[in-house]
């Protein structure tokens, strides 16, 4: 239990920061390098780090696989839903300008891209974790003792 004490302590401190940094990359995406994809990978990296330090079973308690499945769908819904909202507001699909009109500032474009990228963040993060779980949870066909 006391092994890797430093690793455990440091990563416990770091994991929330990694997630916050992921969100920073996401929200900064429309001013500089970044965006939903990179942010999603960073958030997923936090989950993977947790699994590496505390074991995949503990990780599955903290981030249940059923949430992961829902997260993938939520991401797609956010992305496509943004388009549907622009439809309902009377614009073309993904015409962000109808979201919020501001004559001297493309406020609608900002809002739209943040929503869409949030969808990307959800889907990328959850798919990354899902792939990690799928490979990480594999049990060998024949266990080592049976050889």
């Amino acid at each position: 239990m006391n092994s890797h004490l430093i690793l455990r302590t440091v990563s416990k401190f770091l994991i929330p920061l990694i997630v916050v940094y992921g969100l920073y990359v996401h929200f900064h995406g429309d001013f500089g390098p970044g965006g939903g994809f990179q942010a999603g990978v960073i958030v997923a990296a936090a989950v993977v780090l947790y699994a590496l330090i505390f074991g995949i079973d503990a990780c599955k308690v903290a981030v249940p696989p059923s949430w992961i499945r829902i997260g993938m769908t939520v991401g797609v819904m956010l992305f496509a839903g943004t388009g549907v909202v622009t439809w309902l507001l009377g614009g073309a699909f993904f015409d962000y300008d109808v979201l919020k009109y501001d004559p001297d500032h493309p406020a609608g474009q900002h809002l739209g891209i943040i929503c869409v990228e949030l969808g990307v963040l959800f889907t990328v993060a959850t798919v990354m974790v899902a792939i990690f779980y799928a490979f990480g949870s594999r049990t060998p066909d024949i266990s080592d003792e049976d050889w």
């Binding site: 499945r69 829902i70 993938m72 769908t73 797609v76 819904m77 496509a80 388009g83 549907v84 439809w87 309902l88 507001l89 009377g90 614009g91 073309a92 699909f93 993904f94 015409d95 962000y96 300008d97």
Partner: protein, 508 residues
């Protein structure tokens, strides 16, 4: 501000090109969460029905007022992504969505039999996404967007093929083969698009065509052409790039096989037409020689080679899969002829073969469902034990051979005429000879089914056990379509003629 009630006809007509892609995409993501199989199925059926309705709206609009262009996100075409529907892709959209409805109807029983219960919701989800991807790659007017949708549909198709594993473990290796070759195809395609972008600085198809016609051809254009043809050739199973196809068709769940055989290779073939004729300049020397020496000659070799391979198969689905490779050869020959008549013939064959092969694979799936039939020797007496299924199989089978009165005859006759007009008598001979080969391989199955007695189990004749009604409706819908469009071929010929005149710019 909310114009909810604005769902008027005009709105639907205007937004249909996007709605037809977005709707199945959303439903696909939802289906992945639904554990109740029936609800997922109902949602899928509803979606495919709405998509068919939308495709009819689009087709009518195109017929009435020509090309529809839709700029996504309010960005005007050369800058933004454009969805562009004209006489060339509107019929393919309709084909994919109508086949989607028919296959979904069929799926109700076949998925229950072939897929593990907890995987059925996600299975329908993957199907919806593949469906959306196919529609997307047909509807879009942006070369890079084509690649995105190509991957959307391909990746979900690999999953669908692999799901056949609960019926036959060989589905896993087949899906893996398909994955590797499909990815190579997509990579080649995107490299080609990259070269085009390098040459022209734009990704919009119409804009690329314009830039190419201004700058004239260069080595970069030729390299782009080569990469794109090879990439799409892998996707549409052009001989000798067809090696993924027999395995994938033979071991995928039967509903998936029928859907893929009727749509996936057809969408890729549409893209080939789109790129070769409307983006590149089809009068350029290197394209004319590629059409003649690559598409037409390889098409003919594929017709012979795959037909012979089909004759020597013992597995019924592999037989039909090799026959599909041969049929792709006919379409490529039509394209390779390169005249208005040739492209029209190839296009009619695309539409007709989709119905024919779809019906055949649906029938095979029903035979497996009731009796576990996979090999041709199992066909013994099927005409007596499953008369209706075998009836539909026979109708579609004679359409595949090209007997007059079926859609197969219409397209083969058009192809013969086009080849003869061009003076390619070797091609005429090849079409006739491979049709005889088709008679041999289809005949083997029909002979076993109709002329041999019922098989016996413990000395007792096997009882008649017909396929469930939902399956029968699906397969007969396609079989009847084969006959209806064979007797009265005006409509498909008209569509194909429109498509060919888009390609040839009306000059022919």
């Amino acid at each position: 501000m909310l114009n909810f009630l604005n769902l008027s006809q005009a709105w639907i007509a205007a937004e249909a090109p996007v709605a037809i892609v977005v709707l199945p995409l959303i439903i696909g993501a939802l289906c992945a969460l639904i554990n109740k199989e029936r609800i997922a199925w109902l949602l899928v059926l509803l979606t495919t029905l709405i998509c068919s309705a939308l495709s009819f709206v689009i087709l009518r609009e195109v017929m009435a007022s020509g090309t529809i262009s839709y700029g996504l996100g309010g960005w005007d075409p050369p800058l933004g992504i454009e969805y562009r529907v004209d006489g060339l892709n509107a019929p393919v959209l309709m084909l994919i969505s109508v086949i989607g409805v028919i296959c979904t109807l069929y799926a109700l029983r076949s998925v229950t039999a072939e897929i593990e219960p907890k995987k059925r919701g996600p299975f329908y989800g993957a199907f919806m996404i593949s469906f959306a991807g196919l529609l997307g790659m047909v509807v879009t007017g942006d070369a890079f967007n084509v690649f995105v949708f190509l991957e959307v549909s391909s990746i979900s198709t690999y999953v669908l093929v692999a799901m056949g594993a609960s019926r036959d473990r060989r589905a896993l290796t087949a899906a893996y083969n398909y994955l590797i070759l499909g990815s190579i195809g997509a990579t080649f395609f995107v490299i080609g698009v990259g070269f085009l972008y390098m040459q022209t600085g734009t990704l919009n198809m119409a804009d690329i065509a314009l830039a190419l016609s201004e700058s004239g051809e260069s080595r970069v254009t030729q390299v782009a052409f080569a990469f794109i043809v090879v990439g799409l050739g892998l996707k549409l199973a052009m001989f000798p790039l067809h090696l993924w196809l027999p395995g994938a068709y033979a071991y995928a769940p039967s509903f998936v096989t029928a859907f893929l055989a009727a749509t996936a290779t057809k969408a890729a073939l549409y893209l080939l037409l789109r790129f070769v004729f409307t983006i590149f300049d089809p009068t350029a020397d290197f394209i004319i020689s590629a059409l003649t020496w690559l598409l037409a000659v390889l098409g003919v070799i594929g017709m012979f080679f795959a037909s012979f391979q089909a004759i020597f198969q013992t597995d019924a689905r592999r037989l039909l899969a090799f026959s599909s490779v041969a049929q792709v050869g006919y379409m490529l020959l039509g394209v390779g002829i390169g005249t208005m008549a040739g492209v029209t013939a190839g296009y009619v064959h695309l539409l007709g073969h989709a119905m024919t092969k779809g019906a055949l694979f649906l029938c095979l799936g029903a035979m497996w469902y009731q009796f576990g039939v996979t090999r041709i020797s199992d066909f013994k007496g099927l005409g007596k034990t499953m008369p209706w299924t075998m009836g539909a199989f026979t109708v579609a089978g004679i359409s595949l051979i090209g007997v007059p009165g079926t859609v197969g005859f219409v397209s083969k006759f058009a192809l013969l005429t086009a080849a003869a007009d061009k003076g390619w008598w070797w091609a005429v001979a090849a079409i006739v000879f491979t049709s005889i080969l088709a008679l041999v391989y289809i005949g083997r199955m029909l002979e076993a089914a109709w002329l041999q007695d019922r098989p016996q189990v413990d000395g007792v004749d096997v009882a008649t056990r017909e396929a469930p009604a939902s399956m029968l409706v699906a397969m007969w819908a396609l079989a009847i379509a084969c006959v209806v469009f064979g007797v009265n071929a005006t409509w498909p010929l008209e569509l194909a003629n429109d498509a060919a005149s888009v390609i040839m710019g009306g000059a022919g």
